[in-house]
């Protein structure tokens, strides 16, 4: 998202840089929260059997690993897509093979 376009939007004049920064920070925070919600939901399915009196160390380790692997997966996919697009610039059906 190109936030610099905010300050150069025609007819808008200059947006107060402090406000712009605030908006960026708040947007980041919200995106982060969304991500945490999504990951908690996914990892709960993978790591939680029966909710007990507290989160045991095995489950906790599972959650941590889950987060790391999720982000690894995301990066792997991004990288591979990038590579695939380089060799085949047109988005083809071969991706679904």
């Amino acid at each position: 998202m190109d936030s610099s376009s905010l300050s150069s939007a025609p007819g808008l004049g200059t947006v107060d840089p402090q406000l712009q920064h605030f908006i960026e920070v708040e947007t980041q925070k919200q995106r982060f929260q969304q991500l945490v919600h999504q990951m908690t939901e996914l990892c709960w399915e993978k790591c939680m059997d029966k909710p007990g009196p507290k989160l045991d160390s095995r489950a906790e380790a599972c959650f941590v690993n889950c987060v790391e692997r999720f982000i690894d997966t995301s990066q792997f996919i991004l990288n591979r897509l990038e590579q695939t697009q380089k060799s085949k610039p047109v988005f083809s059906e071969s991706l679904s093979d």
Partner: protein, 81 residues
């Protein structure tokens, strides 16, 4: 809190974006799945206890994920500079 049952409270979109609302929605989904077997005529004591426990664990999980996510993002930023 408005929309307390996770029903579409319509009106301002702010209600749906309220982090408490999202949390509540997901807790309800997850804890219903874990704690309610065959739905009876009401929530019995063990089901209520299970739900309460489940909520606490879900919060614990959320906090753990949040911390892990934070560390990872900070590490990524450090590696990229």
């Amino acid at each position: 809190m408005e929309g307390g049952f996770g029903l579409d409270s319509g009106g301002s979109g702010g209600g749906k974006l309220d982090p408490g609302f999202i949390m509540e929605q997901r807790m309800t989904d997850k804890c219903f799945r874990k704690c309610i077997g065959k739905p009876g005529g009401s929530l019995d004591n063990s089901e209520q206890k299970c739900i309460a426990t489940c909520m606490d664990r879900y919060m614990d999980a959320w906090n753990t994920v949040s911390r892990a996510c934070n560390s990872r993002l900070q590490r990524e930023r450090a590696n990229n500079t």
